[in-house]
Symmetry: C2
Subunit: 205 residues, 2 copies
């Protein structure tokens, strides 16, 4: 791609570093900014820079936060003896949206994935194990993706805390609400039968 | 969407102002930036801001440029008597890529589109008409999209310069190279028959 302006070229190149944004899309976005008032670009630019420079991670759960201890960890309305282990910030947001969890979180920052060069020491596992060894936590809920990497990460953590007195659970795997049985994959369907629950329980939610 | 950080929320909101980028995609992009070195965000942020503040439009053809007169207009190797009218900067880049045009361009900055509130005075039409009335241009090539808006814009300009001694042409519409006849739409196929060219001409390129 030949650009008539170095400034344009640099902006397009930087923009196309983002995942899923190719050169053509980047050019479309940058030309859109050129048609909008200057303020929009300045605000976008400032928001990104300030976010990257000033954002903090909660010292307890590693969730993104503006202060040292995030709102959830600092809240007195949460049950501190239940901790839900999630992969990243988006999972916290997704679970918070359901309003069905009142414990605390622990954000790992990823999954163990040797293929991508991510080992246990690249994740926030050590601080989780330390927290559990202090003995204040009664239940640990694994809420990672149901993939090989997710399962590996669950198992790695489980091995580390095996000797601790903590009840470990994992979120239920089964047929999604609203889904038709015939389209479900067999592993999920099989698990949903093995892990069946009393019918009365399903009436609660 | 509930955010745990105002900085994150602001960055996501600004990012999702871009066309085709929703809140979820914006969050994914912003979280990606958080995982990368700080320098990447700073460079992106600076590149966007500088581009928006310092980029110029060529005073002759309105193409994006770093200087007052763009490279193409300033070049001595181009035929100044042929001008190709295009919608935006991307079209200049696309035609330049083909290396089959050695004249100058005129970038309108859009098409006449009453539905989107874009009238003739929002586009760089006046300066084009003025250029043509000076009598230096021998051929004007319309290279707008073959849509109703494109055709309207062509016709509007054509009416303005009807009395000038300028030969107006439009790029050929026809079956794309490599396309199969049976899948072509009938309007295109019909036009390609009406506007057929001597077979010898097709051997040249």
């Amino acid at each position: 791609m030949e650009f008539s302006s170095k400034l344009l070229e640099r902006a397009v190149n930087e923009m196309s570093q983002l995942p899923g944004i190719g050169k053509r899309t980047a050019l479309r976005l940058v030309l859109h900014l050129l048609r909008q008032p200057k303020e929009q670009t300045v605000m976008l630019s400032e928001a990104l820079k300030r976010m990257r420079q000033d954002v903090k991670f909660c010292k307890s759960c590693h969730n993104i936060s503006d202060v040292d201890l995030c709102e959830i960890c600092a809240s007195s309305n949460r049950n501190e003896s239940v901790v839900c282990v999630v992969e990243d910030v988006r999972d916290v947001m997704a679970i918070e949206n359901t309003s069905s969890f009142k414990g605390l979180y622990h954000v790992l920052g990823g999954k163990i994935s040797p293929m991508d060069g991510i080992g246990p020491h690249d994740l926030n596992i050590e601080s989780l194990v330390k927290k559990i060894k202090q003995g204040e936590i009664k239940e640990l809920i694994f809420a990672l993706s149901s993939t090989m990497e997710g399962d590996t990460t669950n198992f790695y953590i489980y091995k580390q805390i095996q000797d601790c007195k903590v009840y470990t659970t994992t979120i239920a795997r089964g047929i999604a609400v609203g889904d038709e049985l015939e389209y479900a994959d067999e592993v999920t369907l099989g698990r949903s039968i093995v892990n069946r629950i009393p019918f009365e329980n399903s009436l609660k939610s």
